[in-house]
């Protein structure tokens, strides 16, 4: 699926520390030697992660593995104790316009006094710049994004009166108006029903087909093989990364999920990966 072999890239770094990795413009996301800690407790340890452009990538790992932290650090929301992040070969702050973000739905207070349409227009604030208000054009773009996620009839609805799945779609629409190149989405399919999940994955596939890179924190191990073509298995460290066909194995999952894997193994997905 891809020509990049992260294993090789890493051993290169180990043998020659002087290698200047800033010139990895061929990679959508290039993370090296990243360590993040809250207080004195490291929650991400020595992460090297490469994601090629044009893939639909999943980040999986147990609760508390550091998936949200990894995304937030890549987006510059958390300052790492060590390490670097490059987006298309440049630091994040130079590439902001290329990046769209869907935070975990539960990270905001949905009782905030605003409408679905207004939340979606927030995706355009970065482009608008200081002192400029969203006008007619912005409103139309926000409406179009709501239409894409099948939510146009809820444009003027107060956001607390939306169901969880609808709120999730509003967040997705807000990222879509960002017209980004690389998307980071934290559990966009958490708590949505099967129909919504299908609608969301269709949108993500469309983005990938437009050669955009979509990185998704995902919890449902059953659907990994059918939804994604790239995977990062994480538990504080990187357990494995690569194309789903290559690295999505029971062995790697066991390494990430530890004891929990016994429970998971009884399910059919591990057979899928071998077949």
């Amino acid at each position: 699926m891809s020509t990049i072999d992260p294993q090789a890239a890493r051993s290169e770094n180990v043998t020659n520390i002087q290698v200047d990795a800033r010139h990895e413009p061929d990679l959508a996301i290039h993370v090296e030697d990243l360590t993040v800690s809250y207080g004195t407790k490291p929650v991400l340890w020595d992460i090297d992660m490469d994601i090629p452009p044009g893939v639909l990538a999943a980040i999986v790992g147990p609760n508390g593995a550091g998936k949200s932290t990894l995304i937030k650090t890549v987006l510059g929301l958390i300052r790492p104790a060590a390490g670097h992040v490059y987006i298309h070969g440049k630091p994040y702050r130079d590439q902001r316009r290329l990046v769209g973000y869907v935070p975990q739905r539960t990270s905001v207070d949905w009782d905030f006094p605003t409408t679905a349409l207004d939340v979606v227009s927030m995706g355009l604030y970065g482009r608008l710049g200081w002192f400029r208000r969203p006008g007619k054009r912005e409103k139309q773009r926000a409406l179009a994004a709501l239409e894409q996620v099948n939510m146009s009839s809820f444009a003027d609805r107060q956001i607390s009166q939306l169901s969880g799945g609808q709120q999730q779609r509003v967040f997705l629409a807000r990222a879509l108006v960002q017209a980004a190149d690389i998307y980071f989405m934290d559990e966009p399919m958490a708590g949505v029903d099967a129909t919504t999940e299908r609608a969301i994955i269709e949108i993500l596939r469309k983005l990938r087909d437009q050669n955009k890179t979509v990185v998704v924190v995902h919890h449902d191990l059953q659907t990994v093989t059918s939804y994604f073509d790239w995977i990062v298995i994480l538990n504080v460290r990187i357990i494995a990364q690569g194309s789903v066909a290559d690295v999505y194995t029971a062995e790697h999952l066991r390494a990430a999920y530890g004891g929990q894997i016994a429970l998971l193994q009884s399910n059919s997905f591990t057979k899928d990966t071998q077949g």
Partner: protein, 378 residues
Amino acid sequence: MAFPGFLADYTVQTVIVGASLLGLCSGALGCFAVLRQQSLLGDALSHAALPGIAIGFLLFGSRQLSILLSGALVAGVLAALLIVLLTRRSRLKTDAALGIALSLFFAVGVVLLTHIQNRENASQAGLDAFLFGQAAAMLRQDLWILGTVTATALLLVISFWKEFKVVTFDPDFASSLGLPVTALEIVLTTMIALAVVIGLQMVGVVLMAAMIIAPAAAARQWTHRLETMLILAMVFGAVSGITGALLSSLARGLATGPLIVLTASGLVLFSILFATRRGILWTAIHARRQHANLITQHVLTTLYQLAQNHHNPAYRTEQGMVVSYYGDAGNRALSELDRLGYVKPARHLPEEGTHWILTAAGIKEAERILASLHPVES
């Protein structure tokens, strides 16, 4: 200009203008404090101001408002820093850190205050007025301070409207857009601290937090839009200020600050009870009405299904049948449906009770309801 008697009074005019300025300012900034779940911050900042006022007086020996308020502001900023430090460096949660900062600074303030009063002629210092506020001590030139802070606050809120909004709603997303979230948060917190400080003279350390929280909390009940909430909070703030000032000037001997806060709290209570959309009463009535609507819809679709079962669109359903199932609500539902023109009464045989037939509009409505119950998957 012709004022009614007491309004011509110089002090009363000053107090009314000052109170309405304070209401506008604290109402607007209070919205952000309440939505950022920082209601307690206003309380901590106002209590923390007391030692600042006392130290300002001790250092400069002056009762000039600008000096005392500068002291208050410095103390407020120090308290805010202490709160940040406590939450970052220890395992304390924000509310605990706020509580600690509040009590610590307030205790120091009271100690300094008693020290000043023992040293000087208490009435000459007059600092204890800052505990509960003393609106009558307000001078015309003090209005300039109030006016400047209010104008600055409103100018900032208007200029950085969308930035403040997204930072309040979703700071992580705001930061991913490249907005300087920390700087914006510092500006907001500083403005809230300023609003607290300018209110100290009128409302006092102890009650000032209510001036920040109450108008915003009342406004929140009435609307689902931040713009409307802000304007309403400013109106509520100004109304509280003016009402409090008028009441105290009419009834001699009643303190202005507490009256302002009482008015604002009254507005909160009123809003919680009576506001459309979120108010308790409105919600209860709405729920009742919805329940009645639901039964009416039920009855209509039941008639429709009975007609369908009998392959007869003009099927007559006996009223007793509906009532046996829905009780008295069935009677009300039928007369409501009759009023809406969805059913019409018909007699089967003279000795029988009333029967009901669906009208063409009724059939259409029943089909619409049934279709909406089983939406086509999108």
